[in-house]
Amino acid sequence: MTHKQMLPKDIRDLQRMLPAGALLVGEAELAAYAYDATAQRARPEAVVLARSVEEVRHTVLFCRERRIPYVARGAGTNLSGGCVPLRGGVVLSLARMDRILGIDTTALTAVVEPGVVNLKLQEELARTGHYYAPDPSSFRVSTIGGNIAENAGGPRCLKYGVTTDHVLALEAVMPDGGLERFSARDAGCELMSLMVGSEGTLGVVTKAWLRLLPLPEGVRTVLAGFTSVDAAVRCVSAIVAAGVLPRALEALDRATVASVEAYNRAGYPDADAVLLMEMDGTPDEAAREAEIVERLSREHGATEIRSAQEAGERERLWEGRRGAYAACARLAPNVLVEDGVVPRERLPEAVRRIQEIAASYGIKPALVFHAGDGNLHPNISYDERDPEQTARVKAAGAQMLRACVELGGSLSGEHGIGTEKREAMRWLHTPRALKLLRDLKRAFDPEDLANPDKMFPEPGGSESGPLIAARALSPQVERLVSQVKECASLGRTMAIVGGGSRWKAVPPDCVEISSAGLSAVLDWDRGNYTVTVEAGVSVRALRAALAAEGFHLHWPDFDGSLGGLLAAKPWPRLRDDILGMRLILADGEVVDLGGKVVKNVAGYDLPRLVLGSWGTLGVMVDVTLKLRSSPRDVPAVEDPVSFAARAWQKKVKQAFDPKNLFNPWFHS
């Protein structure tokens, strides 16, 4: 795609559309918008400091008319090169749109503009006894818009989920300049989930409705030192299995503890791994859970255990964890913060491999990890002015990510792909899956102007396929695949049928593609609390089988097949538990979306997008679900009516199934 350089006339015209002071074009000022928190840099040709939705719209329309690329920007703290304007053009800053528009403590929602700083929202909420769960370590400075665009996580997200779990609805200026609102409750495929984590490549978020939680009354923090990373991770598994879900479960390796001690003498135990765990709830709950955690820590050989209840004391226990990045930032000018994720049980192996890689590259990373969800952050100090060192550190970082992918994990748990990991996307996704992501981007933004050159590998390049081979297809799935392929080659329309409880009659001109009979449990990872099952399985049968071994889904009671349930999405919060999905596309190709890690921001959130799509996007073959260790009664819900596709849902359809072969009546 070719983009135009901005001409003096473009600048003049843009200036005319904007209020005084909203456009920056001085060289030094442009240089101040050339970077984010990575070592990447590229100067824009103009910066717009938008104060209103109208200014955002005008800017987007202006750019579209003149084919000028633009990049949305919040606080510029992302760690993936996400807001570096590689092709120049316009940086569209949302920092001035920083009003909290409303806080409703009865409905437990807040409405905010995208430039609101996470901390400012938290401060406002605290006054009412509430909080907003996502707490990236950058929360003092990063914006809600940036958090949404990166689907940011934080220590607290083990129990409460990442950003996407706390967004109820969004308003965005789309690449065509239109203003759209998407909500998790929308009928049809779930565009809100697509927008969250899309790194500004699909539209500019201008308003967000967020979910609030009441501040817990009791919080307990426990710090424990272990003689090995393995012992610490075994302890974490035991804690989860005991039905305790700490709100934070952070770990540090020995090297990190040593560097932190040198920096701020937090008084952490001299151990190979330190766990920092925080339990919340009623004061009794928190105390009870802290006791369990302490007991399990002892049983797993913890050498030293410290526990705190008062805010001040708890803060002291956190000092070491918080100091980990600080210590690295003082060792050298730059810090590469890697962000791999693996299924939790594979953490010890991941740590070993990362340490080996570090040794072979002659570097000393400080390893911090969100142990509860398998998200690892090797922090590597270096000086970007030393090209040899920089290359070595980057290569080592890349190898560490490779190791995570090879262990069944993903490229990024929370920092996003941006420019830094775009080539690595090939390690995770097949060429067909990458094509699907690109097709989506093209359907939304045909001119490729919204944050171009991010997230996807450059077209061309080696298409060698992902690092780990996909699971083989069962004979039955093979049959479905050839059925779809045949229809596709003949241009015949197809009707996708699950358990058949949601619609009975297949239209006469459609070939029936049925996932009935696909009911095998493919992978039940008891340690990782995930299950991958075929989509034709009866939901009730699945729940019974899981419950028999103490695993649960926090859903209302549903009948019918799993695939049918997810395709109809009668209950929006099904989205909370969908980690991965295998889909037969309309050309008969099979793609694996998502994975079996609970945090994953490597590409658009397609598994959630497919929810509620009523079989219009692909044939769901199997699904990976997040499991819980304790049961919970959730009141029954009524099935919603099926949907009539809105304009942006039609664009999704265009990317997935351009010939409208699957369940065509929804889009006719």
């Binding site: 001085g26 101040a32 703290t77």
Partner: protein
């Protein structure tokens, strides 16, 4: 071309200015600490942006170096960013290096003023008194348009700002004190108390006498900060040498106490001026080690709470809380002095926009800052606010008068002096 320091003393040790600026890894962690960023939402008005600009200047990667001027000139030098930064990148010093690189030559007026302040106090005093008289007679209003015309709108504003320039200066008063043979302290008179607020210096000296016994007035010149910030580094060094010599002549041991936080912070940073001169560096280090700012003096002082005090609050002068890490000290002293009248101020450590000559050079931003500050003060319901820097006293007096006239501003020392006087009346003895 005014010369740069080229090397800085950072929290991570001595570094070239280039290394110091490059230590900023653009993590953005300081963004919300920077008042000018918070107000403008403009990255080119943030610490991170400013560090990048200076780095690009040093790397000669700005085709139009002058484009960095506004970004650098709008820095308050408040140091809030450094306090928030893990690597303690000394942005204010780096910004000053950048300004020096951009300045063809330092402003003639700034140079003259610096020289006057440190070397020809008598002459300056004469000029000031004349100007002050002129002002009282309403004559100076006539020169405002002239100042604006010659490109000094800042000074025109300054002239409007200062309403209470005294006719007797502090040094004239303190020279009349008897000289102690064995001084327990040396009072360093910053230019603010010296030429604008003698009452502040007198209060500090009264407090020193009550808390620490006999001591002497150093009869010093300007600390050099004015030259360091707006003029010539060489002039700043000259001022520093002169003060160090005075200190050594006075025994070279006793604590040197000052009551303008910008000034004491600068005295403490003297070693940075002499990185290439081992002898002077050593002398500067010995000097810096004994400097005390007023809040430090009062941190642990056992002073009785002031009786019948109206609701009172405390504003942290930037160079006390960020520059010297004295946030707790000031608040502890104030809490004790105000007793039950004490009110906690939200954002007490955010710059009021005074920042030396800032209010004069960037009136728009400065006004925005003081409005926010006064808003916070008003929210506490305070009728009195204390601070420890001269710029804060000027700026707050001005801002309160305009937006919240029910409230007055005083220096922390003044409250302490009142408490001592009250104690003397009650017959109780104050002690350190």
């Amino acid at each position: 071309m005014s010369t740069e320091l080229s090397r800085l003393l950072t929290d991570l040790g001595e570094k070239s200015s280039y290394d110091a600026a490059s230590q900023c890894c653009r993590c953005g962690y300081c963004e919300q600490a920077c008042p000018t960023y918070v107000i403008t939402g403009n990255e080119a008005r943030s610490a991170r942006g400013r560090n990048q600009m200076v780095r690009l200047l040093i790397e000669k990667r700005l085709a139009d170096p002058a484009s960095a001027r506004v970004g650098l000139d709008t820095c308050l030098l408040c140091g809030a960013c450094t306090a928030a930064c893990y690597a303690r990148v000394p942005t204010a010093d780096i910004v000053l290096e950048g300004r020096r690189m951009l300045a063809e030559k330092s402003h003639w007026l700034a140079r003259i003023l610096c020289r006057l302040l440190s070397e020809h106090r008598g002459l300056l005093a004469f000029g000031l008194k004349a100007a002050n008289l002129a002002k009282r007679l309403g004559l100076t209003a006539c020169i405002r348009p002239f100042l604006r015309l010659i490109g000094l709108p800042g000074l025109a504003l300054a002239e409007e700002h200062v309403r209470e320039a005294p006719l007797t200066f502090l040094y004239e008063i303190l020279r009349r004190r008897p000289v102690a043979a064995d001084p327990q302290w040396l009072y360093f008179a910053p230019c603010g108390p010296n030429f604008l607020y003698p009452r502040v210096g007198q209060a500090t000296v009264a407090v020193l006498e009550a808390l620490r016994g006999n001591g002497n007035f150093l009869d010093n010149g300007c600390c050099g900060l004015l030259a360091y910030n707006y003029g010539d580094v060489e002039d700043a060094r000259r001022a520093a040498r002169r003060n160090i010599v005075l200190f050594e002549a006075a025994g070279g041991r006793s604590p040197v106490v000052g009551d303008c936080s910008s000034c004491t912070a600068f005295l403490k940073s003297y070693p940075q001026l002499f990185l290439g001169e081992p002898d002077w560096r050593g002398r500067a280090e010995r000097f810096a080690a004994v400097v005390l700012d007023a809040p430090e003096l009062l941190r642990d002082a056992a002073l009785p709470p002031l009786a019948g005090l109206a609701p009172a609050t405390y504003h942290d002068s930037c160079r006390a809380c960020h520059g010297q890490g004295l946030k707790d000290a000031g608040h502890a002293a104030m809490r004790r002095l105000a007793g039950p009248s004490y009110r906690e101020l939200q954002e007490s450590d955010v710059c009021c926009g005074g920042a030396g000559a800032y209010a004069f050079r960037n009136p728009g931003l400065s006004d925005e800052l003081i409005r926010r500050k006064v808003g916070r003060i008003a929210a506490t319901g305070a009728r009195l606010v204390a601070a420890s820097g001269t710029s804060c006293l000027i700026q707050l007096a001005q801002g309160l008068k305009k937006y919240y006239p029910e409230c007055e501003v005083v220096h922390l020392s003044e409250l302490a002096a009142r408490a001592i006087a009250q104690g003397a009346q009650d017959g109780t003895q104050a002690g350190a």
